[in-house]
Symmetry: C3
Subunit: 252 residues, 3 copies
């Protein structure tokens, strides 16, 4: 992950874990530390993008969840919870410059920012976890807070992946860009809207929309962890992950 | 009501109480028993449709509510509550193939399924109870969970009936069909989306969207019953139902 | 403020505090008294409009909030709370005939009615308080209950002002009118929808959509007052109001 600050104080954070920016424990730790730094440095805003030419993030690393070790899986899920609380409730504005496919946890990262610009037309985005039989407690709230409720129910029960155009029409993304540079430019343009707006009023207003979802996780952070770890231990889920990993190998 | 299962395990349930599938106690009992059967048989999904060529369901039978007998009206409303809890929270996916007009309780049946295909363009659908001065506690939540909040407030306060086209535009229905056969085909196509999705993840995800409305009824099931029965006993409501019944007779 | 009743029992209430209908304590007191009268007289409905040719209402009078006196600011905010509870929960239907610009508290008045007709295309409407660093507790709920949640978050964090066309597209207003007379005609047409609908069922249905926001204020009415008064006393906010007042003087 590399971080650069341009003259306007905007921080660009680039996910850089080849080949597809799968979120493992180490990447979550590094990203959470970066979010902390941005909070302390009173950043003007973060643009989150990817070093991969075709994938924003493939989501949670399946290898963390397949035959997990008890200590590490608990640490992994706790760090995911912590990262999400910091990203979704951040005091600085955030934009996802989505320059590639963005399934599952990749979509969660994008939905947890304040604004989404996506390179089109060929990439797809969505919370498709049900296709693997997985339900991530709480995190579905980000979809419900972004697109109409009926569309969210349909998308999440069917594990729908949206084309860029479909995502724009339903409000899952805010703008389409022609390439990564265009996405960054549009992201900066969004952040510039806040140039004259008092930061405290902006942040308090943002929290009025996100406080309920944030509190729901905070108030259930331990039980959510227990539930997810217990859920992963079921033979059915492990079999599902095994089949999925095998299907990935065949693609190579 | 007849039930058939095709080779894919999908169950088609056909409302068949001439002339307009008014929901009386017996029909609610029979339909609830069918829902129970489908739950036990682990159905791949239910398609709900009507044997009438012009009406999906005219809604609650006014004769159950006009000059009601104390025992029967309590049984009637309890059964409606039970039916709705089972339909709205069903473990198997459900589609309404709406092959005719669908006012009031007919619309409630459709809204309580997971997907709606409606034969167009000449039929109408809506929760128009306010026009009779009636408010059905809780059940309005199904409209709020389907179309945008502002549209739901407008529709429910004015007792709006939507044309098929209007219903599609606002998201009250998901697809328009040319006739009943086309509606069934499109319903099957929706159910096929779940062919490879683990049933448990699909159902848990559905409940994340519906649990609050379901719990609201469960936690108030007795008081809702008391309120509705007391409400029906007011002279004003009985007079309104009487005038409505007289207007129906004049149409014949 | 003048009030007239036409033959159908509809009351037209005209805001008339030159030059821009800023809401000061006296105007809020007079308007609240009018709302009480309408409630007692069982009005068929209220049309709220402005005597100004270019402004519906400029919102809260900044002079009430700049260097406020302790007694008066508390009275001012209490009256605003009382006015809003009466308007948003009114037993009679209400329409805003928005015949001019409608920022901040002017937009709040419009959002608290049941229906909005706006003269286009040159006027603008929005809750732009964050631009002054101000957050009005609770009242943002009216935006959230009117337009999609994602659009509301974007609009309120950026302090967005909508053109008439943008407001129509997002559902912030219901209809566009060519001039004030046309707006009044369209407002009457909306009120006529309720001619045959029992008033009690209409009002109870409206409250099902608004009860939560109303209760949130009722249950926090004193603490909200304390928070807002304390917030106004901070040097940062007073400085922001001072700069704003100076910028207004330069425009003259």
């Amino acid at each position: 992950m590399k971080k650069s600050e341009n003259c306007t104080g905007v921080s660009t954070v680039t996910l850089q874990r080849p080949p597809v920016n799968s979120l493992n424990l180490e990447l979550l730790q590094e990203f959470t530390a970066t979010l902390d730094e941005l909070g302390k440095s009173k950043s003007c805003g973060m643009i989150l993008t990817s070093a991969s030419p075709t994938v924003f993030s493939a989501g949670l690393d399946i290898l963390e969840m397949y035959r997990p070790k008890s200590d590490r899986i608990r640490l992994f899920w706790s760090k995911l919870q912590e990262m999400w609380l910091k990203l979704y409730g951040s005091a600085y504005p955030t934009v996802a410059a989505i320059n590639g496919h963005s399934p599952a946890g990749g979509c969660l990262l994008a939905l947890s920012c304040d604004y989404r610009v996506m390179v089109g037309p060929k990439y797809t985005i969505g919370l498709n976890e049900t296709q693997l039989g997985i339900i991530a407690p709480r995190f579905q709230d980000t979809m419900l807070n972004t697109i109409p409720r009926r569309q969210a129910e349909f998308a999440l029960t069917t594990g729908r992946m949206f084309s860029t155009e479909e995502a724009l029409n339903v409000g899952l993304i805010d703008e389409v860009a022609t390439d990564k540079a265009d996405a960054i430019t549009k992201a900066e343009s969004f952040l510039n809207k806040f140039a004259k707006i008092p930061a405290s009023a902006r942040h308090q207003t943002k929290l009025q929309f996100r406080k309920e979802a944030l509190d729901n996780l905070k108030n259930n952070i331990d039980s959510d962890l227990q539930i997810f770890v217990g859920f992963l231990e079921t033979p059915r889920i492990q079999k599902s992950l095994e089949l999925y990993l095998e299907s990935l190998k065949k693609k190579i």
